[in-house]
């Protein structure tokens, strides 16, 4: 793993998350004829010209580099659906829109390798960047407000792999610190402390999609 020298080897680097994203299935339009590929991870093909085939992204990029296919952008990557997603992200303050788990990595891979297969690539790229910014700001604001000191986990729905990877070391350590300082043997009167905390809980009844998994 790329983070071997770090004291916390459970963190992924960005390249590793991208590597895992390359397993996603995508559609290609081959321009040649080829026998089926029997690989350990599965069988792909047979490939006929102009027949849409589903392959993993790493295979699609490899074929594209050899000029043997054209990659079809996935359906969520059209300008209409991205604009719609951006609007709903901006409207709702708490919830995240449903996006593919690896949308950041997939979009970057396609921008790098399949530039001519995407129509209006600049528009698509700027839309995805905007979506990413809005979502990350939402993640930050929700991070500020999770300190019910009794919770030992945080839950945020519909977050994508790269966003999770960015906040993973920080949230892990912050939760550890909260747990250490809030542990019951350190605080001899948990009832007194929890009274003030339960008042704060009543102020936030509508954060339904985010709640600690276990209250102590």
């Amino acid at each position: 793993m790329a983070g071997q020298s770090d004291p916390h080897p459970s963190h992924f680097s960005a390249q590793e998350v991208e590597f895992m994203a390359e397993d996603e299935i995508i559609e290609i339009v081959p321009n040649m004829k080829m026998e089926p590929l029997n690989l350990i991870c599965g069988d792909y093909g047979p490939f006929f010209p102009q027949m849409v085939t589903q392959v993993p992204i790493w295979l699609a990029i490899a074929l594209k580099k050899r000029g043997k296919c054209a990659i079809r952008p996935p359906s969520w990557m059209s300008i209409e659906s991205l604009t719609r997603i951006l609007e709903s992200e901006r409207e709702s303050q708490e919830a995240f829109q449903v996006l593919p788990f690896h949308y950041v990595e997939i979009s970057r891979l396609l921008f790098d390798h399949a530039r001519d297969d995407i129509s209006d690539i600049y528009m698509v790229r700027s839309l995805i960047e905007d979506i990413r910014d809005v979502r990350f700001h939402k993640v930050e604001t929700s991070l500020e407000s999770f300190e019910d000191a009794r919770s030992s986990a945080v839950r945020i729905n519909n977050l994508s792999a790269m966003e999770v990877n960015i906040v993973r070391p920080f949230v892990g350590r912050a939760l550890q610190a909260f747990y250490k300082h809030g542990s019951p043997d350190l605080i001899p009167n948990p009832e007194r402390v929890s009274n003030s905390i339960s008042n704060r809980w009543q102020q936030a009844p509508d954060q339904g999609q985010r709640r600690p998994l276990r209250k102590r």
């Binding site: 960005a14 390249q15 990877n165 906040v167 920080f170 300082h181 001899p188």
Partner: protein, 185 residues
């Protein structure tokens, strides 16, 4: 026991605590102000925490609350937690407080630490990911070691993501390849 090899834990125990000796101790030159090699009962000495802890367990000395946890600091933290310069007082504020709380018999140390940490976290650390460099340098100097770890973790993961996003060649050239070989005569 999991903290035995943790360097931060070792350094946190290095902080000085003033203790009051209950019994006379001979043959140790701990107290620099006394001429002889022994320590009288009732004398106050500053010792590192690991030593004071052992002496406390053997009931030779009793610990007093270190000055970084006194009333003045508590009032300051209650007023505005984010601006208090904890690093100059005690860079291992939280860890040290956790260790010393059961020994000194301080009942609200735990909740006090927790609320201080919470306030500072809200102000400073939640913006750690995207803090611009100018704001960062001002707030960095007041953080304890633990908070600095958190801050740097966020910063480095954000920087790694940005670097990846720019893209570029997926392979890095090995350092040995760039050197030219001198032709052998």
């Amino acid at each position: 026991m999991a903290n035995y090899y943790d360097i931060d834990d070792i350094l946190a125990e290095e902080e000085l605590v003033s203790v009051v000796f209950q019994k006379a101790v001979n043959g140790v030159g701990i107290d620099p102000s006394s001429e002889t090699d022994s320590v009288e009962p009732g004398s106050k000495v500053e010792l590192p925490f690991w030593l004071a802890h052992e002496l406390h367990l053997r009931q030779i000395a009793t610990m007093k609350l270190p000055p970084c946890f006194n009333q003045k600091t508590r009032l300051e933290l209650g007023a505005d937690a984010a601006c208090v310069d904890l690093r100059s007082r005690c860079p291992y504020f939280y860890e040290f407080g956790c260790k010393i709380a059961p020994l000194v018999g301080d009942r609200d140390m735990g909740s006090f630490l927790l609320s201080a940490f919470k306030n500072r976290y809200q102000e400073v650390l939640a913006k750690a990911h995207t803090a611009a460099f100018a704001a960062a340098s001002k707030s960095l100097t007041v953080l304890t070691k633990e908070e600095t770890n958190l801050y740097e973790a966020a910063q480095s993961s954000m920087a790694a993501f940005k670097k990846w996003r720019i893209g570029g060649p997926r392979f890095q050239k090995a350092a040995v390849l760039g050197r030219k070989r001198k032709p052998t005569e």
